[in-house]
Every structure is written in structure tokens, then in C-alpha cells.
Symmetry: C2
Subunit: 196 residues, 2 copies
């Protein structure tokens, strides 16, 4: 954890002095000095005050990812997964960076076919879809909810529930999918429901 260093960097980048930050954050400048040099270990409370004064969040200050600059993915190179049975295709459009919580995917469903049931994601995971061609039925929670989408529509949902995509029409359906897992971190994968 390089919390202190990050604070110092940010503070410097704002051209702030310890005293200024002290006033904004309501943390003594001596404390700030010690924190920046990792001599003392702030409570999350004061860490939070500091984050706010720097106009940021503690989450950010604690996040250690630092990543790549640019990645070009030519059509021919992109990973494609095809379900032999249904003909359902998944084209990965975003690089798969471990540190990244976003996936950008183009999905194609043949006429009168479907994606199969996707199990619930972890809590906090969101999906955003856009229909670029054809029609699509989205079913959530094992059928407890469903919408019919047509070309040009988009749909956003919390993906911590079963979901399924169905193409009831006689033409291919193309839709883009953005999966946002950036807010997931906790949550238990496959919890035993009740084992008393």
C-alpha cells in the first residue's frame, strides 16, 4: 500500500501545501507529513478526509492499478467464441486486461436461436446492451422479467441475476454488450445456501 506516496503526488499536482491540505481536510499538517512519508498509518476516517480534500475518493487512493496505453485489435485477430450447437457467437472487442473491469463484446444470434442461460454475475456487475440488427428478447431472473428489443434500442440491467437472450425472428440478431464489473469485488462465488 503506497497510500502516502499517492497523497503526496496528488497534493503536489494541485500545487497545494501541507498547510492548505490540512485546512481543507481538517487533519494536522504534521500528521499529513508523517502519512506522506509512511511514518504513520492513518485511520480510514482521516484517510477519507484527506481524499475528500483532494477531491477524490478513498477507493481511488487505494486502487493500485496502473495500466497500458493503447491496444489495436484488428477484426481478423479478435477472439471469437462460437457455440457449435446454437451458432451463437461472441466477438471480444476489448482487450482483456486483468486490471480492467470492462468487457466490450459483439454478440450474434442466428434466427430462431438463443444464447442459453447465463448464470447470475456477482453483485455489482452491470450489463448494457445495444441492438444493432434484428430483434432480441431479454429474459431476466429465470423468466420473471422480459423485454423485447428492436434495432436501435438499448438496455441496461444489474446482471446479478440469471439472464438469457433470445432471437425469435427470422434474421440474425447483432447486439453489443458492455459488461461492467468494476464495482464488483466482494461477494461470494457460489455460496452454500444453507448448511446447518
Amino acid at each position: 500500500m503506497v497510500f502516502g506516496k499517492k497523497v503526496k503526488t496528488l497534493r503536489k499536482s494541485r500545487d497545494m501545501t501541507l498547510k492548505e491540505l490540512s485546512i481543507l481536510s481538517n487533519v494536522s499538517s504534521s500528521m499529513l507529513s508523517q502519512i506522506e512519508r509512511e511514518e504513520k498509518n492513518p485511520t480510514i476516517q482521516v484517510a477519507c478526509q484527506i481524499a475528500e480534500a483532494l477531491n477524490t475518493t478513498l477507493s481511488y487512493l487505494l486502487d493500485e492499478q496502473e495500466d497500458k496505453d493503447i491496444i489495436l485489435l484488428k477484426k481478423a485477430q479478435r477472439p471469437i467464441y462460437v457455440d457449435e450447437k446454437s451458432g451463437f457467437q461472441r466477438h471480444l472487442l476489448s482487450p482483456s486486461l486483468s486490471s480492467q473491469g470492462i468487457e466490450f463484446i459483439l454478440n450474434i444470434i442466428p434466427p430462431f436461436s438463443e444464447s442459453g442461460v447465463f448464470p447470475a454475475h456477482k453483485v455489482g456487475v452491470k450489463e448494457n446492451i445495444y441492438i444493432s440488427k434484428g430483434r432480441l428478447d431479454v429474459e431476466l431472473g429465470g423468466g420473471s422479467f422480459s423485454v423485447e428489443l428492436v434495432e436501435g434500442d438499448s438496455f441496461y440491467f444489474a446482471a446479478d441475476t440469471e439472464h438469457r437472450f433470445i432471437n425469435l425472428s427470422n434474421e440474425e440478431c447483432h447486439y453489443f454488450l458492455v459488461i461492467d464489473s468494476t464495482h464488483y469485488r466482494g461477494g461470494s462465488s457460489t455460496l452454500p445456501k444453507d448448511n446447518k
Copy 2:
């Protein structure tokens, strides 16, 4: 900050006892008890130990967003911004949730036209694009880098630099854009470069 409550919820959801968590995290169970009831205020160090023991991150435990479930956006309703001069269009495909750091957009550039120069985003902001129709030249950093993309290509880049999209062909260019701002929080908007 409801840190303690979150810890307790997570611990319970894993069917763990204070003692178990204590062993894993190397934090005394009395301390844990007090933290969960907000009687004491952990340092980020022990908060971190707890997060790890719960197989999560401190960022997550401190994140307070809790949001919507589903949002349907019909084609006719979606917000579209058109630049009268160039004819450049931006179609917003994702809901604009303040808490959300993702934007999903469909952009359309007329033949022989361009987007204009987008100023650098804050550090940490990423863009991911996919060309669904036509050709597109992407220029980064005021011309210091450029690529030519064709239908089917996708491109990922750190958007903390000037960027510009150009359509040099005689047909419309359609491209999808995913802007990920989830990892930005700090950073100064328009820093005075050098004011000694």
C-alpha cells in the same frame, strides 16, 4: 461511511465467526466486534487486512454506490447530440447514472468529416472503440500517434491525451465508443502547467 456494517454483512454472508475472521485477518476479534458496531475506527492497515481476509478489497468496502436495476432506452428516446457544422452525431446508449463510470455511445461521422479535437480526459479514463461501418482515423496526442481503422476493428486507448476522429472516406463512419471513467477520481481538471 458504513464500513463496519458492510464488514459484518460480508462476514455473515460467508458464515464466518468473529474468531475465524480474526485468524484470517490477524486482527483481534474484540477489535472486529468494535469495528462492526462502529465503536472504533480502524486504520487503513487493519481495514485492509480485513478486506483481504474477506477476499475483497478495501476499495470495494468503501464504495458506497448502490444503484438501479434495469433501464430500457428505446431508439426514439435516446439522447442524440449533433454538431450542426460537421454533422457529427453522438447517440447515448447507456443511462447516465451519476454513480456510474461507464458511457456507451454510438458516434456517426459523415463522409470527409471529423469529430473535432476532444481534449484530454482525466488520468485513468479509458476509451474503447469499435468500427461498425466505414473507416476511421484516430489521432492521439495532437498528431503524435495515429491509426487507420476499418469496419470490424477495435481500438483501446488511455484517453488522458487529446484525441480526434476523422473519416477520410466517402461513406458514413459508425463507431461505438465505451468510455470507462471508473478509475478516475483524482486528477486536476486543467492544471496550470507551470506557474512559478
